[in-house]
């Protein structure tokens, strides 16, 4: 797959965030300041616009550039974390103009690493990671077993959804939600919902 697939992937993410704008606003209004629907739809729109008009065929540079565009557009917690994910994926895939299924999976691993490097959170901290981590594991396992990418994407999306749904058992220790202490536990984490949406968009991009 070449750069046009990455553009398609980013378009799918941008679309799903636009569709779920109000859903994310609602989620973030309960625990945070309610801006997540705006920042994710605006941020991924900015990332896509940068990707769509990108001239070079270097997939890594494309990802990096779209991440930087996102960081400029939405400097909120999740905005910057998602930008860091894209930029790190870009660094890892730098120089590639064609990528294999395994390298597509690598995009998501690198994306997650970028978020971890920036955010210093751990799985279980009730964040984005609790949605993305099971998805990345499922995707890697599927690709390693030689399954077609569509199957891996489907499993990854399902795993992300399960991970998100389980965040209402976790205690928040980062960001605004953490200021609520134990009262945060029974709530769903908005950032993990974004992970679920990203993986659904990935599934959509393969069909």
């Amino acid at each position: 797959m070449d750069k046009s697939y990455i553009q398609k992937l980013l378009k799918c993410i941008k679309d799903i965030m636009a569709e779920n704008r109000d859903y994310l606003i609602e989620l973030d209004s309960v625990v945070g300041d309610g801006d997540l629907g705006l920042t994710m739809s605006d941020g991924f729109a900015a990332a896509y616009t940068a990707a769509e008009t990108f001239e070079d065929s270097d997939i890594g540079k494309l990802l990096y550039t779209s991440g930087k565009a996102m960081s400029t557009a939405v400097p909120s917690t999740m905005g910057t974390l998602m930008a860091s994910g894209l930029m790190n994926a870009g660094k890892v895939l730098k120089g590639k103009t064609q990528i294999s299924d395994a390298e597509v999976a690598q995009i998501f691993s690198a994306y997650m690493d970028g978020v971890i490097n920036r955010g210093k959170a751990k799985v279980g901290d009730k964040t984005f990671l609790d949605g993305i981590n099971p998805a990345v594991e499922a995707l890697n396992a599927s690709v390693e077993q030689g399954e077609p990418l569509a199957a891996g994407a489907k499993k990854a999306a399902a795993a992300a959804e399960t991970g998100y749904k389980n965040t209402n058992t976790l205690l928040a220790i980062h960001g605004r939600a953490a200021t609520r202490g134990e009262a945060s536990r029974t709530l769903l984490d908005p950032g993990a919902a974004v992970a679920m949406l990203i993986m659904k968009a990935f599934e959509n991009s393969i069909e």
Binding site: D33, D35, K68, S71, T72, A73, P75, S76, T77, G79, T80, L81, A83, S84, R118, G119, H174, G175, R176, T179, R180
Partner: protein, 336 residues
Amino acid sequence: MKKIINNPENYVKEMLEGIYIAHPDLVTYTADDVHCLIAAKKVEGKVGIATGGGSGHLPLFLGYVGEGMLDACSVGDVFQSPSAEQMHAVTKAIDSGAGVLYIYGNYNGDIFNFDMAAEMADFEDDIKVLSVVAGDDVASAGPSAPGEKSTRRGVAGIFFVYKCAGSAAANMMSLDEVKRVAEKASANVRTMGVALTPCIVPRVGKPGFSIADNEMEIGMGIHGETGIRHGKLESADQITDEMLEKIISDVPYTAGDEVDVLINGLGATTLDEQYIVTRRVSKNLADKGIKVHHFYVGEYATSLEMAGMSISMLKLDDELKALMEKPANTPFFKQI
């Protein structure tokens, strides 16, 4: 929402335009972006100090850029971080070879963006950037283990970190030394606040939380983060004593220690009330044998039009004391 504003979307932009109109001799901006505020005068060879953060806290953060304090501030939307790109832009503008120190408050969005900006400055421009994250709000979390990063939020006490670091840089100390001073100040400052009324983010148009009539929220954060207790509004003396208790036991202090104290209004609370609190702080500390070197009283870090106040205390040694005494000339803080 009773505010004298135009379209809430333009709130920060128009505020910044007003800032440049009123203080042309002290501040200007770079990168064609009013959010990228820098000092009007660049001192060659000096370590640059940059800060940044959301709007809604004037004079924080931008008000301390000027002579003898900070060199730059990237300005975010109300209660929102500025972008890494904006921080990167001011970093390039203020570096004169001696490197740049970031000093900012302990908030997720700010940390992520300042870290990203530091990487950009390192990668793209070979500028050495170090960071000090201020977390002085004793109400927001317990003390952190030695060597561990504070998990406390940054509030008004950052003023002391700015002042000490700004004086150190003005003394032409090296980047590592300015960082050491900023860390020392940061390690020795504690703040406690109390809120009486909520505030309204202009784009939201209604309060994000409420405080019952006759109630107060002790330890509430400057964005309305939950405090450590709410209860009936008490007398100024009682509130002051409770806040000092928390501050003093956290350090801890012993008789003979010397401090600088900041009595800070959050927005709607009168100066009269701040001086009534000043009076009690003075009595309380005198009883404990703690000597006040200097009182700073006024609005140093606000939460829009919130009613309430905070007390910050900086434990002094000879070095910090001398640095606190140096003159400064910024839009909001002038010391002669």
